[in-house]
């Protein structure tokens, strides 16, 4: 073992240019893999974030037409207590936020104009965890008292209102309620900015005469892709036929298949990059066996075992793989750095935020090392088969 290792590294270091070229070849393969992997993962994260980052991942609502959930506080407590202890749900998947909402379509009247809106009453602190309300407020501040509301920036433009203005909310039943605007938010989604009017739970309940009822329980989870299993578990915990539990995956099937396609193509690219790296190493090492056949012949005449002779080339492959992987990871990280530093929009924000996953990078490096070792198998066999007499006879 030890001698094989020593000979392998001496062979590698004695032909530095050749070694460097192979290492560079592997490194470029690994760097492409690291870069493309980080790029695709980054793309997916940002896509998921923009799509469902500010929305409910799992929503509990009533089956009835009046949409009212009466004993919601018990339901929320049950979810909070039991969902954490679920076997199917590891701590990582766990719930990030649980929030009650009382909402209903209505109209808003300001001066002579009337617009359709969606009035949503939240417990502000809970909803903030899902919708990041505080971060979204661009003007004014959060509502602190009854009959105060947050309005979207697009609706503000339509209504031409300003902070502190009082506007009238008209329910479908015709009830009118005056509310005060304490702030404007921007969710970066025009349809929401135009329609949602956010207030506290009590105000919404009284405007729509809900009593103590709400209309939905919204949740965010940490592992978004496990939302469906969690939704199923929650349905089982609640054991209430009047409630239905929905999750984002069912509502975004197209996005999911898009993401899947992207992952597949990324895997495919990575597999082919690896194959070309393996072929490259295998062919170069095969030539190296020829180059070193004189040395192998003399080593065998001096009594080196065939297994040891193959080990030399396996070690060469592994050594090349390790060096290539290290250089490749460095190059790949360099590429991602260049990409995020120079591929920026006019505001200096990277066009695509890359996602650097250390386990993924470690895996790429490991695969490169293993494939380099694997690629050395063919030359290693050749080296084991080499008969010293051929070399001795032919000079």
């Amino acid at each position: 073992m030890r001698l094989a290792l020593k000979i392998a590294f001496r062979f590698l270091s004695s032909s530095k240019a050749q070694t460097f070229l192979i290492v560079l070849g592997i490194a470029i393969g690994v760097s492409v893999q690291v870069f493309i992997g980080s790029l695709i993962q980054g793309l997916q994260k940002s896509l998921i974030n923009t799509t469902i980052g500010r929305s409910s991942h799992i929503t509990v609502s009533a089956e009835d037409d009046d949409r009212k959930i009466d004993d919601w506080e018990v339901a929320i407590d049950t979810i909070r207590e039991k969902a954490v202890g679920l076997k199917a749900v590891s701590a990582a998947v766990g719930l990030k936020a649980v929030s009650a909402a009382a909402d209903f379509p209505a109209f808003i009247e300001s001066g002579s104009q009337t617009f359709p809106i969606f009035l949503r009453g939240f417990i502000y602190e809970d909803a903030d965890k899902i919708y990041k309300l505080d971060e979204s407020i661009v003007e004014g501040k959060r509502p602190t008292r009854a009959r105060q509301v947050l309005m979207g920036v697009d609706l503000k433009k339509e209504l031409e209102v300003k902070l502190g203005d009082r506007v009238t909310v008209i329910t479908p039943k015709g009830t009118k309620t005056k509310v005060t605007i304490t702030g404007f938010y921007d969710f970066k989604v025009a349809s929401i900015n135009k329609s949602w009017l956010i207030t506290d739970l009590r105000t919404a309940q009284s405007i729509f005469s809900f009593g103590r009822s709400i209309t939905s329980i919204e949740m965010q989870v940490n592992e978004v892709f496990k939302a469906d299993t969690l939704a199923l578990s929650i349905e089982n915990i609640l054991k209430n036929p009047n409630l239905k539990v929905e999750h984002w995956k069912a509502q975004n099937a197209q996005l999911l298949s898009g993401l899947q396609g992207q992952s597949m193509s990324s895997y495919l690219i990575q597999v082919f990059v690896m194959i070309s790296v393996v072929l490259g190493i295998a062919s170069v090492l095969a030539i190296t066996v020829l180059q070193k056949s004189k040395q192998l012949g003399i080593l065998k005449a001096m009594g080196i075992r065939d297994s040891m002779a193959s080990l030399i080339f396996l070690f060469e492959g592994a050594g090349l793989g390790v060096m290539g992987a290290i250089l490749g990871v460095a190059l790949g990280l360099g590429l991602t750095y260049i990409f995020t530093t120079f591929a920026v929009d006019s505001e200096g924000v990277p066009i695509i935020t890359l996602y650097i996953s250390y386990p993924f990078i470690a895996l790429s490096a490991l695969i490169a090392t293993l494939s380099a070792t694997l690629a050395a198998l063919v030359p290693a066999r050749k080296s084991a088969k080499l008969n010293p007499i051929e070399v001795i006879k032919n000079g």
Binding site: M1, R2, L3, K6, I7, R10, F11, S13, S14, K294, Q295, G297, I298, L299, K300, A301, M302, G303, I304, R305, D306, M308, P388, I389, I392, K393, G395
Partner: protein
């Protein structure tokens, strides 16, 4: 004296469809501690005999005994061990490993056996290099030495594991006459000092004459055998 090398009825045939027989029922034995030379025209089969003794080549039929053990039926790994511990080779084209220094080349058979060089082994290698007069160039890579120096390194290498037998195929074939004389003096002194059995193939009549015994091979048979 006991025979350390014994060949019985050795035939060697090369090729499968078109066969060429190079050795015909060769019976040959060498005594321990003796200094022998093999002479013969090129193509006579003398190198084949040496390679069969050295277990690098296998006879088509016949029996080979090295140090009392039959070798023509041994497995490859057992042969490798035997070569490593019992036989030292010196070839015409010295065959050093160019990636290694003179000292490392000398140590190589020891490393093959032990994996790691002990302090004593390194001292022995240095002593051997001293005997062959190469102390000054022991750190040189094999390629950075003259032909004579490389050949002397190969001799030191053949001695490192204290083999009972040294097989040499035209060890001075590509050296000038002064170096040739030098190398033979060296081999002879090693023979006396370490009681090593030598079998040397040579073209050089003067050298052959200095041996205890001359075996002449002709057309695959032992033609003459002088002591």
């Amino acid at each position: 004296m006991d025979n350390i090398i014994e060949l019985k009825k050795i035939n060697k045939i090369y090729g499968k469809s078109i066969t060429t027989q190079v050795l015909f029922d060769v019976d040959l034995a060498f005594e321990a501690n003796s200094f022998n030379s093999i002479i013969g025209a090129s193509g006579s089969g003398k190198s084949t005999i040496l390679n069969i003794i050295g277990t690098l080549d296998q006879p088509t039929s016949g029996e080979v005994y090295i140090n009392g053990n039959r070798t023509d039926q041994l497995k490859k790994n057992a042969l490798a061990k035997l070569r490593n511990e019992t036989i030292g080779f010196i070839f015409q084209f010295h065959y050093l490993l160019p990636e290694f220094t003179a000292l490392e080349n000398v140590l190589m058979p020891y490393l093959i056996r032990e994996q790691k060089a002990s302090k004593a082994a390194i001292e022995r290698a240095e002593e051997l290099l001293n005997i062959v007069g190469l102390s000054d160039v022991k750190k040189n890579l094999a390629n950075n030495m003259s032909g004579g120096q490389q050949q002397r390194t190969a001799i030191a290498r053949a001695l490192i594991n204290n083999p009972k037998i040294i097989l040499a195929d035209e060890p001075t074939g590509n050296l000038d006459s002064a170096s040739t004389e030098n190398i033979y003096e060296l081999l002879r002194s090693i023979n006396k000092k370490f009681q090593t059995t030598f079998v040397i193939i040579t073209h050089d009549k003067r050298i052959a004459d200095k041996a205890d015994r001359i075996v002449e091979i002709k057309d695959g048979r032992v033609a003459h055998d002088f002591k």
